[in-house]
Symmetry: C2
Subunit: 404 residues, 2 copies
């Protein structure tokens, strides 16, 4: 993770909240950006917004128009998360539907390479194609479990899913254009969201930098789950960085540059930085790049029958494959190794697991603990941090189930 010095110092973490404090609530409201204010509950919804009306509402929890969570029990032992069930989290409102009407005409400029140029999606499709299954997870997945009340959407476990991406390997694009410029240490991608007037672009734009080592696995994707990529998920073109937190998978990507430094956009400089509670974000703090090892039980949740039960869940290791998953039905006193089931879709995919066990009547605290191929196991405790990022503590992720 990055420890390079801060280039910009922000006094308040969230640009929208800062604008609100400056008296710019009208601007935010006019552009439908009230949801960017972390404490806002203004847009609590009862039905799916139009742009995701094709999703299956019974599988989803509507936090806001741009923050929609997958219900824990909708995953079961799911290998691939159906598109209709997948969570949604947009940093800015989804673009106009026109954005995906002629996908092949979408353009992306590639900079910081031997021969910089603009490529259409149609041209990218002629270069190469591959498919990768990977977990897409919001940095704040598990935020609801932090007792300090971390600001932002109160995700439980459902700001995550495992999907198949199809597109061109980023490395093939860079190689085709003469390779990375000398000294490049980051891949910097810029989203195609519309920046509302009245807001400082650098405060609000989605532009993220990730280490160049991600070139080995990243792709520019135009399909998700073997369907043209919907605008709700970044269509027509999205940077996909397998094993990295969601924010790095830049949607509607319109520029990709190999850069010496990280971008000075606020979302990179002070956003998505892990720091102690009460501390402001800055670029000397770890950035939310690779995901850590994590798992959770998906079934049973509240109640179940006495006797034989199958305990279901999913486990993943970010950029590392899963080695094993253990399950405890007594809150972590004793553990049994679960069976990992279904096809292995590669190191970036999650693995469903199942444990068959007998449950006696009464209350059981069911928890799971995954270990990746490098031997990293989920810790028992969370690491408290201001924004509630990267929670993989097994204790908080357990479920209390009434048996009988």
């Amino acid at each position: 993770m990055s420890t390079q010095p801060s280039e910009t110092t922000a006094t308040l973490d969230n640009p929208a909240r800062r604008l609100l404090l400056k008296g710019s609530a009208g601007v935010l409201a006019a552009y439908g950006l009230m949801h960017l204010v972390p404490t806002s509950r203004a847009d609590t919804l009862e039905t799916l917004p139009d742009y995701v009306s094709w999703k299956r509402q019974q599988d989803l929890i509507l936090h806001g128009s741009e923050t929609i969570e997958t219900r824990r029990d909708a995953i079961r032992s799911g290998v691939i998360t159906p598109s209709r069930t997948l969570f949604v989290r947009n940093n800015l409102p989804a673009p106009d539907p026109a954005i995906t009407e002629d996908p092949d005409a979408w353009e992306i400029s590639i900079e910081g390479v031997g021969n910089p140029r603009t490529l259409s999606l149609g041209e990218l499709k002629r270069m190469q194609v591959t498919s990768v299954a990977s977990v897409l997870q919001c940095s704040g997945n598990g935020r609801a479990f932090f007792p300090h009340g971390a600001s932002g959407t109160q995700w439980s476990v459902g700001a995550a899913g495992c999907v198949v991406w199809t597109g061109v390997p980023l490395k093939a694009v860079i190689d085709e254009l003469g390779g990375s410029a000398d000294g490049a240490r980051y891949i910097t991608a810029t989203g195609g969201e519309t920046i509302p007037e009245g807001l400082e672009p650098k405060d609000i734009m989605v532009e993220r930098s990730i280490p160049t080592e991600a070139l080995e696995s990243a792709l520019l994707a135009w399909e998700m789950n073997d369907e043209p990529l919907d605008r709700a998920h970044g269509g027509p073109l999205r940077l996909v960085v397998p094993g990295y937190y969601g924010v790095n998978n830049v949607k509607y990507v319109r520029q990709l540059a190999m850069t010496e430094e990280q971008t000075d956009a606020k979302i990179q400089v002070s956003g998505y930085r892990v720091r102690d509670v009460g501390v402001s974000g800055s670029s000397d703090q770890p950035s939310m790049w690779e995901m850590n090892v994590k798992s959770w039980v998906t079934l049973p949740l509240d109640t179940t029958h006495e006797g034989r039960n199958l305990i279901y869940g999913v486990a993943f290791g970010g950029t590392k494959a899963i080695d094993k998953v253990e399950v405890s039905v007594d809150g972590g006193e004793s553990w049994q190794e679960a069976e990992i089931i279904g096809p292995d879709l590669g190191p970036y995919a999650w693995r469903p697991f199942v444990l068959a066990t007998e449950l006696s009547s009464g209350e059981h605290r069911i928890v799971s603990r995954a270990t990746d191929m490098d031997g990293n196991s989920q810790p028992r405790e969370r690491t408290d941090n201001e924004r509630g990022y990267g929670h993989n503590g097994w204790e908080d992720h357990g479920v209390s189930v009434n048996v009988g």
Copy 2:
């Protein structure tokens, strides 16, 4: 394949056609069974029937209300066929929607085991669970390429898809009930379709027998693509036999028996039997069980640009994994090995392949030829047979593409 002697002799291949000749067209029409008459075009449709209105029509070709094909170019390099894009083929009209309203209450009787009994789907779900990716393909996929005009739906390549099934391994169920009865050589499964009055049940019921060796891989599935199994695809419960033709994957399965003999239902005795053109079906002919090795190009189809092109397709080997795929852009004169891409979902799944190649202007005949891990390759020629089953000849499956 079976060569056991015929137990029943049918003079006409199709029970519906026979009824029609007997003057029972009124019965068929009243029950919406006119599509069972192979030559009928009575139910040519312009929009999706209600029971599959959730599918994506632009990906589909509507042959009839129970025969809906996936368009060749809707597959591209698809790893998993989206449920909305998957073909439909029902031997009888889809049951009432009520059939999937309380899936866990669905019952299946298990016979021919140590302790025969009826199990609810809810009970099955507590036994074990696994997921398997497999190709689902109609026996008549490719029928349109037979020059003798084989009766039945004129499928091109789209009566096939690759999906993920989730359910209980059949072997676990059989073991739990005391194991197979002595002398069992077949797994015989009975579908839950409603048999219209006025028709002889044995003539019309979907009851299929497959060799017991399929016990190692078969499952009783309640999910497809990680969603509850829809009635269009056999929900609430379907027998899935990975690597076997679609008809053996009995829908709405209500009975499963380990038997010494194959069922005497017509669909087994004389249906789905491979025989010379003009010959009636009988049980001494090979039954449509394991699928053979097959592939086809999905893109480009009619036209493409000069210069660099990516040629896409899919390949599978039935019960055997794919070893390699070769592609020719000159009708089979010369071949290049294609790249197999995307995650490997196991031996029963198909593998997307891609060949990057330069195409000169003019007409190109693009063909593909797959080889499985046992060294079986697709033949050049089709094997002509009365009902147009099991076509895997590479020549007929090619596409003529105009370049320039």
